[in-house]
């Protein structure tokens, strides 16, 4: 597959007290899977190229040799069967981690995700439990063309019955994937393909992170910036730029899109009275629309300026690199939006 575009967060750790190891997002996810499989033999992996190939994005490298073909199951190219079979296995008490090679192929399994996984428990009066995780990378920026570059996270977050998680740091990825695997609900665990190389500190000891808590990623007093996943990286760069001009941005990392934890967002907003929401997906009917609406509902009296949204241009992503970059939200777009609300 394509080589990964290096990201700017790949800078080496500073020499200051290095208490925690700095590992990549890929390693963090891989560790979470490995440790959970060691911990619970009901956990198994299935998906395209997860075994012999070692994972399209090398997340499950070495798993096949260690855990064997029973627990690391290569599947045919059959997304509906992958998700459908994961649901069935989960109903019997196993804990499948089904990998969809990219989130774009989730559309080939849409019925099983939204009509079956999201609804069976409710529809049968709580008789069924579906402890499954759908791990899938998404996102644009790698010149893969319109069908292979999407960030359709909001679509999945639309459906009650699913939980949607999209971490932006290695620490969160590891802790949240562990929680997801231990959870008794169907979870879409959305990774961003251009974040796999990003390094961050990860605790050495065992830990988990809840699936319903947003987090202040960077404290600030002037503007509340709400974002998640890949856009956490771009927003952080923007915040660093803005800090040079004395503008202090408070970044709230949503981490989960469903359930959506508005508490830290509203608390921050009540302090700053201004908000920008940054997402990689399209603006229309997106995460920004949802979050800004909830801010208006929950903190209308605190609004000092119309909330701004930064999102992808409303076009299918083109192959050409310049056009693709034009369509994706950039650091400058974030800076501009922050200045707009000030």
């Amino acid at each position: 597959m394509n080589s990964f575009i290096p990201t700017t967060l790949q800078t080496e750790p500073e020499i200051k007290e290095r208490v925690m190891p700095r590992i990549t997002m890929r390693e963090a996810i891989s560790q979470a899977l490995w440790e959970e499989m060691e911990r619970d033999e009901n956990v198994f992996i299935m998906g395209e190229e997860v075994g012999v190939w070692g994972g399209t994005y090398a997340v499950t490298k070495g798993f096949y040799d260690h855990f064997g073909p029973k627990r690391v199951r290569d599947t045919p190219i059959a997304e509906a069967a992958i998700i459908g079979a994961a649901i069935g296995a989960a109903l019997t008490g196993l804990r499948p981690v089904a990998e969809l090679m990219t989130i774009n192929f989730a559309f080939a399994a849409m019925d099983h995700i939204v009509n079956e996984a999201a609804k069976l428990r409710y529809m049968f009066g709580g008789q069924f439990t579906i402890p499954m995780v759908i791990r899938t990378p998404g996102g644009g920026g790698r010149q893969l063309g319109a069908t292979h570059s999407q960030t359709p996270d909001a679509i999945f977050a639309h459906f009650p019955g699913l939980k949607v998680v999209a971490p932006g740091t290695p620490e969160d990825a590891k802790g949240m994937l562990k929680s997801a695997i231990r959870s008794d609900d169907p979870i879409m665990f959305i990774e961003h393909a251009t974040l796999y190389q990003v390094r961050g500190e990860v605790p050495e000891e065992e830990y988990t992170i809840p699936l319903d808590k947003a987090k202040i990623h960077r404290p600030g007093s002037d503007v509340t910036l709400v974002t998640y996943s890949k856009m956490l990286e771009k927003s952080t760069q923007a915040a660093e730029e803005l800090a040079k001009d004395g503008i202090e941005v408070e970044i709230v990392d949503l981490r989960c899109l469903r359930p959506l934890d508005m508490e830290p967002v509203l608390a921050s907003f009540k302090k700053t009275n201004r908000a920008v929401i940054v997402e990689e997906g399209w603006r229309s009917y997106g995460v920004g629309a949802e979050v800004s609406s909830r801010i208006y509902e929950g903190a209308f009296d605190y609004v000092d300026s119309p909330i701004q949204r930064v999102a992808q241009k409303e076009v299918p992503l083109p192959y050409n690199r310049n056009l693709e970059q034009m369509a994706l939200p950039q650091v400058e777009d974030v800076i501009k939006a922050v200045k707009e609300v000030l």
């Binding site: 012999v52 774009n104 080939a108 010149q143 690199r321």
Partner: protein, 318 residues
């Protein structure tokens, strides 16, 4: 076939090979981005098929589409320019390697979601059936694609509606790193057509003459109103799935064995043995291809990037 047609087929196969070999170099230099799935090793399949096609026959394939693009007559320049994402590319730089199409040539493109184009092929065939025109849709897809639901729905529909479509599976033994034995209940893909009551055959996909003859026969079969036909072309991809494939899933000697059966080598030997062409003539074709490929690269490199406004064009027709 007359001599010119033989030489034309040879020209197309060598052109596909050289364009792709050079494209691989350009990819390494960072001039091509995204995915690049090379057709090298499989040239006889699409060249043989398309050479038997009539202009009214719609063609559609998957993302491994540079060969088909050249066979239907898209110029090496337009292919190269698309690979470089230039405004002069066949899809104006918006599609890239996986998405080349030419509506004027009744070629409906490369499609990147595995199996997604099969139902579309059924619809293309429906178009001809509906208007009582005599086109036969040629739909190509990998062995791996026969494991997804789209395949089964489309193939079944084609039989139920008696659609004029020639289904062609390019069985190159692998879908990415998964061998056919590990992914498909049957390794002889044509058996899947049996389940839908569709007449079928298997052909040596390394031999362009055999593919050509099969295509002539079965296109005629479909054109005469006999409903869909299912052809399995047995072939092999010499390169990785896309660029940067670690290829841990197969052994070198397996690749080397198949390289003994190089479709271009087989055809060259045939042309010489049958005294259809002299080796100097074939060398000349290869030299032409060298020039054509070089010109294509120069054209692509000199071509402009798409204008920024192009980001917002072609979203809707109205």
């Amino acid at each position: 076939m007359d001599k010119n047609e033989y030489l034309d087929i040879y020209h197309q196969m060598v052109l596909i090979r050289r364009v792709e070999e050079r494209a691989a170099e350009l990819y390494q230099q960072g001039k091509i981005g995204g995915f690049l799935h090379l057709y090298i090793g499989q040239e006889a399949v699409s060249t043989g098929l398309i050479s038997a096609r009539k202009p009214q026959d719609p063609v559609i394939t998957a993302y491994r589409d540079h060969g088909v693009a050249i066979n239907v007559g898209i110029s090496a320049k337009q292919v190269m320019a698309e690979l470089l994402g230039k405004a002069t590319g066949i899809s104006k730089g918006k599609g890239g390697s996986m998405h080349m199409a030419d509506a004027d040539k009744n070629y409906w493109g490369g499609h990147a979601v595995v199996g997604a184009h099969l139902p579309i092929a059924a619809g293309l065939a429906l178009g001809d059936q509906y208007r009582s025109t005599d086109g036969v849709t040629i739909c190509m897809f990998g062995d791996g694609a026969t494991n997804i639901g789209f395949f089964h729905e489309a193939v079944n529909l084609s039989k139920v509606w008696n659609l004029p479509v020639l289904w062609v599976t390019e069985n190159n033994k692998y879908g990415m790193g998964t061998s056919i034995e590990r992914a498909s209940a049957v390794s002889e893909i044509r058996q899947k057509a049996e389940g839908y009551g569709i007449t079928n055959a298997r052909v040596d996909g390394m031999n362009v003459i055999e593919v050509r003859q099969a295509a002539e026969e079965y296109l005629e079969h479909v054109r005469s109103g006999n409903g869909p036909f299912f052809l399995e072309a047995v072939t092999y991809r010499y390169r990785g799935h896309s660029m940067g494939d670690p290829e841990r899933y197969r052994q070198k000697d397996e690749i080397e064995k198949w390289q003994q059966e190089d479709p271009i080598g087989i055809f060259r030997t045939f042309l010489l043995k049958e005294k259809i062409a002299a080796s100097e003539e074939l060398d000349e074709v290869e030299e032409q291809v060298e020039v054509e490929t070089q010109e294509a690269i120069e054209f692509a490199e000199a071509s402009p990037e798409p204008a920024p406004e192009e980001l917002f064009t072609h979203i809707y027709a109205d």
